[in-house]
Structure formats: structure tokens, C-alpha cells
């Protein structure tokens, strides 16, 4: 590249990037600005694309809506529960699979299946598993003399059920990523650690975790963003947002306001709020993982 005509290089680069740039502009940048614009009106006509009542009234409405509070709280609970649990669980499973136990090849494939299967279909399967009368969950609990739980119909249990489902469906992708990470660790490090009298737990803490450092950080960021965007899991499991809206989430709220209630400006405002929340969290996490990496 040295000595080449800079202008020519620039144009050629642009030519290569153009398709991607066009797609990003049409499907990401334009909708973002459009959403931002919609959110600052009280009312918006999506056909004429004209708004009326310029101001922050939609934001005020959203922030005062008890349903939004519920959605916000649920989303946070969902994120706080499913992210650490699914990461811990998937790491344990990945380590087991990587330790070359019998049939690990089979399980590696088996664990990946949910990832390539439609979430709605899995949700339907889980509806059956959680079924209060016929579901195996309650059948299993029945063995211990525990009364049937209304997993899907009781508003008090809905979030719990959603979290279990959320954790389960988040496992596949994480396991695959962790497996790749584990396979990248030099096995000689473990041999050296054994010579240095480090037990299994010490090896995990002092070698596996630091070696997986960047991957762990990545998983946390991706999983948190994913949890904040939880929607398919809700619809897949309940068909709507659970009994008495008990399992509603931010994205569900947004969807509901847009398609069911046709409150476009409210939907847009809640979308912007969600965007800001995710952004703040991502920045915090990146900052923390960068600092850890610097140490």
C-alpha cells in the first residue's frame, strides 16, 4: 500500500464496503434515527411520517407507566439471574465435555442443537414440560411428594419459569464458545500446574479462568445484551407476556405498545430508554474487563 495513490485506495475501499454500508444505513441507521424522531412527539402518523406535539411527553408517559416499571424490573431480574447462572453452568458443562469423558463427542452435538433450533419451537416443547398436569417437571416433583406447581399459569411463578427457560436456552451458544476457548489453552500449562502441586480447583482458578479471561468478558457482554433484549423466550414460553402480564419484559412492552396498542411514540420512547440502559451497561462491563486486562 505504501506509495499508492491514497484517493484511489480510498475509493476502492469504499467500493468494497458499499454493499455493507447501504444495508447498515437502510436497516440500522435510518430506523434508529426514525425511532429517535418518533419518540419526541406525542403522536405520530406512521403513514404520513408526521408527528404532532413535539416534546418529551412520551418519555414522561413511559416512565410513569406501572407496566413499564414491571417490564423494567422483570428485565433486570431476568438479566441478573440468567446471565451469571447460565455462564457458570455452561462453563462447568464445557469443562466436563472438554475433559474427554465418555460420549463427549455426542454431547457436544447434543448441546449445540438448541442453538440451531427455532426458539418458538423450543418454547412450545417447554410449555409441555412445564404443563401443570402432564409436564414431566411436576411429575418429577410429584415423586418427592411436592404438589403440582402452576409453572405457566401462576403469576408468582411465571418469572421463575421464564428464568429457567432463559438459562436453558442460553446454554448452547455459551458452551460452544467456552469449548472453543478451552481447546485453545495449552495442555502443558496443566501439566506444569500439576508439577507445581496445584489441585483441580487451583488449576481452574489460576489457569482456566485467566486463560479464558477475554472470552468470559465477551460472554458477559453478549449475554447481558441478550438478556435485556429478552422477547422470544417470553412469547415462546407463554404465547404472550405471561399470566396477568407477570412476565413482561422491556422488548415485549415495546412490541406490545407498537403492534397491539398502536402507541408508536410510546414504543419509540421505551425503545430509546432501553437502548440507553444497554449502552450504559455495556460500557461499564467493557470498562471493567479492560481494567482487569490491564492489571
Amino acid at each position: 500500500m505504501v506509495g499508492q495513490n491514497q484517493k484511489k485506495t480510498f475509493f476502492r475501499a469504499m467500493l468494497y464496503l458499499l454493499p455493507a454500508l447501504v444495508i447498515i444505513a437502510v436497516f440500522v441507521v435510518y430506523p434508529m434515527f426514525h425511532t429517535l424522531r418518533m419518540s419526541v412527539y406525542e403522536d405520530f402518523n406512521i403513514f404520513s411520517k408526521e408527528g404532532s406535539g413535539f416534546g418529551l411527553s412520551s418519555y414522561i408517559w413511559v416512565l410513569q407507566d406501572p407496566n413499564f416499571h414491571k417490564a423494567l424490573a422483570n428485565t433486570f431480574i431476568y438479566a441478573i439471574v440468567t446471565v451469571p447462572v447460565s455462564i457458570a453452568l455452561s462453563l462447568v458443562i464445557a469443562i466436563l465435555l472438554n475433559s474427554g469423558i465418555k460420549g463427549s463427542k455426542f454431547f457436544q452435538t447434543a448441546y449445540f442443537l438448541p442453538y440451531v433450533t427455532n426458539a418458538i419451537a423450543i418454547g412450545l416443547a417447554f410449555r409441555f414440560i412445564f404443563h401443570s398436569e402432564f409436564g414431566i417437571f411436576n411429575k418429577f416433583l410429584g415423586l418427592f411428594g411436592i404438589d403440582a406447581i402452576q409453572w405457566l399459569n401462576d403469576p408468582d411463578w411465571a418469572m421463575f419459569t421464564l428464568c429457567i427457560f432463559g438459562i436453558w436456552s442460553a446454554l448452547a451458544f455459551k458452551i460452544v464458545i467456552f469449548l472453543a476457548g478451552l481447546q485453545g489453552i495449552d495442555p502443558q500449562l496443566y501439566q506444569a500446574a500439576r508439577i507445581d502441586e496445584a489441585g483441580k480447583w487451583k488449576q481452574f482458578i489460576k489457569i482456566t479462568v485467566p486463560q479464558l479471561g477475554p472470552i468470559l468478558a465477551y460472554q458477559f457482554v453478549i449475554a447481558t445484551i441478550g438478556a435485556f433484549k429478552a422477547y422470544v423466550e417470553v412469547v415462546g414460553l407463554f404465547g404472550d407476556d405471561g399470566p396477568l402480564h407477570s412476565a413482561t419484559t422491556m422488548v415485549y412492552y415495546m412490541y406490545d405498545k407498537f403492534y397491539n396498542a398502536n402507541r408508536y411514540t410510546i414504543a419509540a420512547a421505551s425503545g430509546v430508554i432501553m437502548f440507553l440502559i444497554i449502552m450504559v451497561f455495556t460500557f461499564i462491563q467493557m470498562h471493567m474487563s479492560n481494567r482487569r486486562a490491564d492489571q
Partner: protein, 365 residues
Amino acid sequence: MDIRIEGLTKTFTGKENKETIAVNNLTVTIPSGHLVGLLGPSGCGKSTTLFLLAGLHEPTSGKIFFGDEDVTGLPPEKRGIGLVFQNYALYPHMSVYDNIAFPLRNSRSFKEEHKDAKERRAAIDQIVQHTAKIVAIEELLDRKPAQLSGGQQQRVAIARAIAKQPKVLLLDEPLSNLDARLRIQTREEIRRIQQATGITTVFVTHDQEEAMSITDEIIVMRDGLVQQVDHPQETYIHPANVFVAQFLGNPPINLFQAEARGGWLIVNGDRAMATVLADGHYQMGIRPESFILTGDEGDGTFNARIEFKATIGRDFQVRFDINGHFSEALIESDQHISEGDTVRFALRRSGVHLFDQDGKRIEVW
């Protein structure tokens, strides 16, 4: 503590069940406090032997004793060994300091000796600093392994292995990446530490000079089989077979076919050396430094036509044909010879070795 190895065998089963016998029925005793060199060409099973001693490989058969204790089934963490890996295996995410301190922090016995946590930390710090000084890396303690040169990494690996004062020290080519001066310095240092502490040490190398200079004994291996176990000088003076004779010595021994006839070994058609061997064909080896230029013409000498001559320091290197084998001799430089000359050589008996056609040493000839 001595190390006894009895009938140790390790086979690896590769693809399509192809078996590699990396170590083949190895039986040897390493006396307590000795430094033993494990010498052999690449792929002969040196690292595998070390890994078996460390417990990182499980032997296919055979037993290993440390002192009176049978450690064959003991995991590496219970064997109390220090190991320097051929490619270091430093912990990339830890500083040099933490790398060296790691085994001390894990050690049960160290915890027993230093019960108080604060006192233990101070003790560890003192050992780390001291060990770092020995291998000359005290300036590098804050660095990560990736920020070190190959030689520096190697010294960190040595420091990590000796810091915990192991009962047995295993070194897998620990000096291969050092420059000539540092290599000699470090090997003297290893020797010094080893003698001071009396740690039984196995030192893998394929550098024979290294092995000769610091070891008490040498084990020469080839294709998983032990060829000779002996004092370093003995392996050179009395090579047990053709392989050892050829492997040791630089420049290498001149090896060729020679006939014994009527009490003489025939070299280039002349009666070069008296022998008691029966008439027949033998493998004859002559060390390059065992040729003597002579004015004599009679029995006990032979003709050679110099085809090449070069000056190496004080000596001349000359090359010529012996019984069809292009040979090399080192002779003192005050002799006047030039390429194309035909000269007469006598031989120093101590530098001449005879082997049967199977390559086994013939002791009396």
C-alpha cells in the same frame, strides 16, 4: 534419594493403532545426589522418559522407585519433583515473580513449615528473589513471559523448578535457547546448585559437550532403547556400540569396514595395526585426533593421500580416503603437508575401536 527405574516401557498408540515405542524396557539406577545426562538424537524418547519420571505419562509397563518408595502410581503433584519443560510452559498470565512463587504457594510441606501466612509470604519473597538472582533474572520479575526472550523464559522456567527445592529435578534441554556464554554459565550454575543441594537430577540434552561437562553419568538412548550407561568419559573412551561411538565425539569418529588378516588389520592395503582377532571383516572406528603422521614405512602404518586440508585454530583438519570411506583427521599444525601429498599415518590404539558386524564393541583385539 536415588531413582530406580525397572523395565520401564511406554508405547503410544497413534492413528490406525500404529504403535510407537517411545521408551523400551528401560532399567537403570540413578544414585542419590547424582546429575545424570540423558543423551540421544531427536525422538529417541528423552522427553518421554522425563514425563514418566514426573508422572505426567503413565507407563505401559515397568516400575519407578524414588528411594524405597514405589512412585509408579503416584500423581505428579505428590512426587515432589521440579520439571523444566522443553518449551518452558510458563504461565502466560502470571508475572515472572508469580510464576516462580506459584509452586511455593501451592506446596503443602512449605505451608507446614511456615504456618503463619505473613511469615510465609516473606519466606516466599526471599526465595523468589534469591532464585531470580541465581539465574540472573532479578530485573525481570515484573514482566509477563510474553515480554521475555527465549533465553530469559528458559531461565524463569529453571527458577520455577528449583525454587521449591524438589527432591528430584528434571530438566528437558534447559539450555537449548541460550547463547554460548550464557549456556556455559547457566550449566555451571545448575551444576553448582545441584551439588550444593544434592538434588538428584536428570538432565536431558542432545548436546554432548554439555552432557560431558557437568554430568556424573550419561545415559545414551536411541529409539527408546538404552545404549550405554556410564561415566561421561567412559562413553567416549569405551563406546558400547557403533551408535554410541558415532553419536559422541565432534568431529565424529571415522567408521569403516576393515579386514583382519594374519594378525593385522588392513587399512588402505597396508598392515596398519596388530590384532589378535580371527581373520574376517570388522567395523573399525578411528577418532579424528588419533592419527599420527610418521616417517616410518613398515608394519603398523598406512598410506593416505590428502585430498583436503584446512586450518582449525592450532590444528590442521585433513581429509583422505580410508578403505573407501572419506575420513577426517585432526593433526598438529607444525607438520608440513599439502593437498595432493601422500603421507603415512600411525594410529593411537586408545582412539581405535572395533565392533562386530552387529555393531557390538569388541573389547579385546
